[in-house]
Amino acid sequence: MTGTETRIHEALTAVAERRPVDVERLWHEFQTQGQVTARPRRSHNQWFIPLAAAAATLLIIGLVVVGRAQLGSGRHETPTNPGTEYSLDQLPPWENGATATTFPLPEPVSTPVVFDVDATSAVPAAGRWRVVVYYAANPSRLCVIEILQPATGPAHTNSIGCDGETGYVVTPVAQGLDWLLGTVPPPATKAEVTVNGQPVDVEVVTRAGMPRPVFFATLPFGGVHSLTWQFTDDDGRVVAHSDTTPKTPPAPEQSPTFRATPVSGIATFDEPPAQGAPAGSRRILHIYYAGSEHGFCSDEQVIRVGERPVTASEDCGFDVIGDRPASVLQWLPASSGGSVSTTTFWGVMPAGATTTVIVTPSGKVPVQSAREDGMPTGVYAGSIDSHNTARVLYFLDSDGRVVAATVWRSQF
């Protein structure tokens, strides 16, 4: 190995091996409940799994019902905004200079179609967000590639996959703006999608080489609580439909449950609500100690008015050396509510420190700190503008003397 390769190996190994894995607990979860029911705290699973199951059902319906190609059949065309058709040598450039005809997924047998996601509120600096959909052959599969094009710099290409494996219909609706796509099962010619009971625009297109039409809809950012879709034929008969995705029942007051048992008091910090969140929405960060096995833990909850609190992220145990809490710095992107403009810092203060100060190029940032019963040292949390690419954290004692300091550069 070269020197750089050795450094890479050592850094990755250091990070990987410091992650504790409780094999017994995982095996128990696997045996008793499966991974989905065992870990219900992840908000996207609550939505994604039933949606994925429904999507798989749709796929089966489509494959069984259709056995014949309907290439270019005009009766499927109900375009409201029918995407952009490309021949293979006209496709937008892929990431890092790859040629337009180099597909990171199986080669297409149909003309690709590019949908523009209405993402003006989610893609900063007037970037573009496009989704390329095409069919690959043997067996016929719908493949999806996503391209995020910032206003400056190279595009980011994500190979979502082909049907069945990673993304026949992908809708992480609990996480924010996204899109819904799939095939229209014949003899249906129209697709209808509702979000929170309201219909949204759906594009239905067919291109040369496509055995079935494709539908596409942009979903609103951060506000999808229920989602349905159905397919109808020219006479309005329903060919296939989804079950209504259950709306999260209102339960605004609910005690949080934690991943590890707290052995200390729980510090509670209010974070800035996400952009576009309804009035009264809250984001709450809990920090607590969970003993030498887990170290200190965080639990970030998002509470929207009239809804059950959703745990957006949890962490435990990554910053313990022996039985000593070792971290002076952690960070959480303020992502759970859809905000792309703030980052929440939180962590454990070193021994002797009572106050934390974050200094960025934009100035000093307010930081909350607390030391609850049973905490060996205090904890802190503060939210800053993500565009501040460098921050210095100072930890001060009760006399205002610097106990420790560290520099953090953004990885955004």
Binding site: T4, L12, A14, A16, L26, F30, Q35, P104, G161, P333
Partner: protein
């Protein structure tokens, strides 16, 4: 939910072998998912194990099963990555600094620099680097995990190393 339960029940065809395999591979799988940037590595690893379990009788060797497992984890991480791109988020490598900043921070600074460089790579380049330099896989194995060709893996690794070397040199 019932689908998951039924798949787990099916595993009783070879429970002892699968349990031994699970116990041996779950930790590396969680760690691979973490390095690839999965928001919930344990959940991703469990999901991969459930999928593997459904096909368990079809694998002739544990090596075949492991190759399949790696591929699932890579796919799951890409799926999460697609979502995380909404937030312009890079993988979060939890590198502790220290309570006594002065001692360990310096040691770990180098790791942090390397990890920051890895986080800046494209998804495919990062996958290739992690599979090559952490899992120490051959190019053919990496290609299988990434569902691509060995030639593409070479290209990804070459570009990644060039990018990383430049990044690290600038920070010297």
């Amino acid at each position: 939910m019932s689908g998951v339960a039924s798949r787990v029940d099916d595993a009783s065809r070879a429970p002892a072998q699968f349990e031994a395999y699970y116990r041996e591979r779950i930790a590396p799988t969680v760690r691979l998912a973490a390095l690839l940037g999965c928001e919930d590595p344990e959940n991703a690893a469990q999901e991969a194990m459930v999928r593997l379990h459904a096909r368990w009788p079809g694998f002739a060797t544990n090596a075949d099963a492991t190759a399949f497992l790696r591929r699932i984890v890579v796919n799951l991480s890409r799926d999460q990555w697609r979502r995380s791109q909404l937030r312009r988020r890079k993988p979060r490598y939890d590198v502790a600094v220290t309570a006594t900043v002065e001692d360990l921070a310096v040691v770990r600074e180098e790791h942090r620099e390397v990890l920051a460089g890895i986080a800046r790579l494209s998804t495919r380049q990062r996958e290739a680097v992690i599979l090559r330099y952490w899992q120490e896989l051959a190019e053919a194995e990496i290609a299988a995990a990434m569902n691509t060709s060995a030639g593409s893996v070479k290209t990804h690794l070459s570009r990644a190393m060039r990018s990383l070397t430049q990044y690290l040199e600038v920070r010297r």
